[in-house]
Assembly symmetry: C3
């Protein structure tokens, strides 16, 4: 698409949009309302950016019917401008894919099975009996372990490590530095120290999953660690052994789940939140950033725990009081009790 | 062991177990109580799984004497079923070791010293004067810096980076993406910005240490960063420069220790906890997950600080009140005071 | 410098120091007050180490005029001993640089542009049209993506991934495992799951920036992610897409910033703190470790939110009370109200 572009008349049907304005404008890419020139497409999803909309010089704007009157340029009217934007941005800016084939500096085991159209970058390593699906790209320096299976049309970026036996579905995107299938953290205490418990399960990742950079998903101890279809995990996310994450659940940067916990589908886990082990979280739960979850959650909804930043002097005082909370509560109770006794003795008390 | 298996009569003495039942059953591996077939060994360590025990079809179960009557299949009676399980699981499922030798795509400096039985994977790099001990495996793409020393019988997985001069003891397991010996975070503020302080120490790791994926242990500024024998560190753990961690201490995923802190032996540090710099924590301390430790801890015991997740509406109200804690405490105090004055004036007050 | 050393008379002018004592002593390196022998240089910046100063056997000590009388060995009197130490430690312990040139096992695209004195380590990959500035070192196994630009005199350690198009200024130090320019975390929810939003910006890193190990800085969605001159980021730091970090801001281990947030210059962000997306933090703000920042900060100063670790029994009680805070506040208010009514009815009330 790049270089040539599409006319607005060509673009509109791709997202079932109603075109308001001249359909002959050529769209070559997407941009923000601020920066867009006359061949760029923008989206307008929040009135927070109304000022930018009114001033935009874009070629067209994806917009809801409610806001179309504010649009100074051709409009593509859709129900969900951001979703339509995502579709069109992919169309106008397809990923720059590596050419199929094995780089001469790739190391591919003789009995690894690579389907048609696979691209393997320099210094990537594909170990014995691994299978790579059609059209998948394995980036420079990535290591696919013995017998691991990667689906079709995946993009495994540079420096990704997928350990022996693990399974990744179709259309996966896995960013640099992420480690799939390292041993779970399992040790039995004994008289002379901790004894390693062999981690015999695998990691099983569904279709359409994206995982950010430097995240880690550990293999199961006996059963598998399972990531459902459509999950999106950000950078520096940690999923411990035997967790099961339902379909379409998203986890923001630095969020972590301890071992053997089950998360439902369509959950949203905020950044740096921590979920303890051996619990269950039902479908559709939102956990705000920096929240600690220590018990199972059976009801859909939003849950939170963090305290907000305060000026340090105020924080210091409140912290002292927090450490006295039990005592404060006891004093309040005592006061209520004597007060109630006193009230009974006070004249004219109703 | 794999493929052939052991009879229960052969298994029992390996863990000093009393065999209850037929000793001729062949055990080929371990499994969970749920999934085990007739040639699998399980363990039963908690009555939480009593239902699974009663229904198991396993070949045998490692179990305490107290529970043996509930076991529907042959039992191996031991004092600590989980520890015995760890021993036997290692016996029945030995790690799939790389064959000794240098992969043709490994890059090994001429003056690096590799002992007998060392395996170096494809694209691994062993720099000048590094030493690798007998039987150690260096995974694909790992980099062992100049003069670094790795002990015997270690498993350095793929993509591990051990920087110049660092020392790792025997029997280490280090998972993918972990970085040992990056520079500590040391800068001196000056008029034109921060000036780097050279990090001249090394990282010194004892024997029998396991470190998870994508963790980081920084080299010391002047002295060394030291990890004691038998420590077990999970994924995404960060140990800053000049820390000293005592023997057999374990740290769960995402826990971090700031610079120059000393941790005792046999401590347990929960996931995502953070320990400030320049403090000391004595032996045998447990820190729960997500806890912030800001002062030295001189007494053995368990310490905690996180707040638990609440439904967001409740959290919002409690947060507002938390920010008023100092004021609440002052109001309570004022009330106590006037109340006490009032009580003195009230008739019939005892 | 190594091996030969400098005399104190040679050292003093390098940091505009007044020499007190014999200038002929040879200094070969730096050390701590405790460990220093007669050819080592130390610094004394805090009276906390007065005991060590009084007992030191160092060749010389960098010290303030106020403390020079306590110094038992030759003194270099300066205004800021730690800053002078940083300057001299770099002089006495220059980094062990790789020899310029391409290792035979490096993979460098034919149309990559490498300036004079560039060193590329074994298994490093430099992709098409990337540019590497004069004197820069690319460590073993690092991957520089298509069209990425790395400045002069940088040290890119082993296993660093800098994705296509990203720009790094001069004198950068980037430690192992760090990933610059992975896709930002952007997805639009749709009827059949989350749709990826292409991440079309780059990461733009200024001059004199250091980034620790296993950190991640994501590329922008439409605009760029920008790291200002002189910033210093520790290990496991996460910067999401479209963030802008001002010059000379430092971020300690595990701190994270969500998308589209702007941080001022000369800020100090403590370890494991989390800053939410789409906010602005002004210049000169200090955020203590483990703090959650959920709103813009317009005033310079120090901000905090974490609760300190307590013995678990105390923590449990306080946590119960924290969960009742709204109720406690209501009860206090009710008591104040009835009390105030009562007081009015009480005899002899002033």
């Amino acid at each position: 698409m790049k270089g040539r572009g599409l006319t607005l008349s060509e673009v509109a049907p791709l997202v079932q949009a109603d075109l308001v304005g001249d359909g002959s404008t050529t769209i070559t890419g997407v941009a923000s309302l601020d920066a867009a020139g006359p061949n760029k497409l923008c989206f307008y999803a929040s009135t927070r950016y109304r000022k930018q909309l009114l001033a935009t010089r874009a070629g067209a704007v994806l917009i809801k019917a409610d806001h179309v009157d504010d649009c100074p340029v051709p409009a593509l009217v859709v129900r969900d401008p951001y979703y339509a934007y995502a579709l069109l941005a992919n169309e106008l800016h397809p990923r720059d894919r590596a050419a199929p084939g094995l780089h001469p500096a790739a190391v591919v085991a003789a009995d690894a099975v690579l389907d048609d159209g696979v691209a393997v970058g320099p210094n990537a390593v594909i170990e014995a009996k691994a299978r790579i699906g059609r059209g998948t790209e394995i980036g420079p320096g990535s290591v696919i372990g013995k017998g691991a299976q990667i689906g079709e049309n995946c993009w495994i970026a540079s420096g990704v490590h997928i350990a022996a036996g693990c399974i990744v579905g179709n259309n996966a995107v896995i960013h640099s530095g992420t480690v799939i299938g390292a041993d779970g953290f399992g040790f039995a205490p004994g008289p002379d120290g901790w004894r390693k418990v062999p981690q015999l399960g695998i990691v099983r990742i569904g279709h359409d999953v994206e995982i950010g950079a430097n995240s880690t998903i550990d293999r199961g101890a006996l059963d598998d660690t399972v990531i459902g279809d459509g999950c999106k995990l950000d950078n520096l996310v940690h999923i411990a052994h035997n967790c099961r994450i339902g379909a379409h659940t998203v986890m923001a940067g630095g969020s972590m789940i301890a071992g053997s916990t089950t998360i439902g589908s369509w959950c949203m886990i905020g950044g740096q939140s921590a979920i303890t082990g051996h619990i269950e979280i039902t479908d559709g739960v939102t956990i705000t950033g920096m929240t600690g979850v220590t018990k199972s959650i059976a009801e859909k909804g939003t849950y939170a725990s963090p305290l907000p930043a305060q000026p340090v002097r105020k924080w210091r005082k409140n912290t002292v009081r927090y450490l006295q909370l039990e005592e404060i509560a006891q004093r309040l109770k005592a006061l209520e009790k004597t007060f109630s006794a006193l009230k009974r003795r006070t004249p004219k008390d109703t």
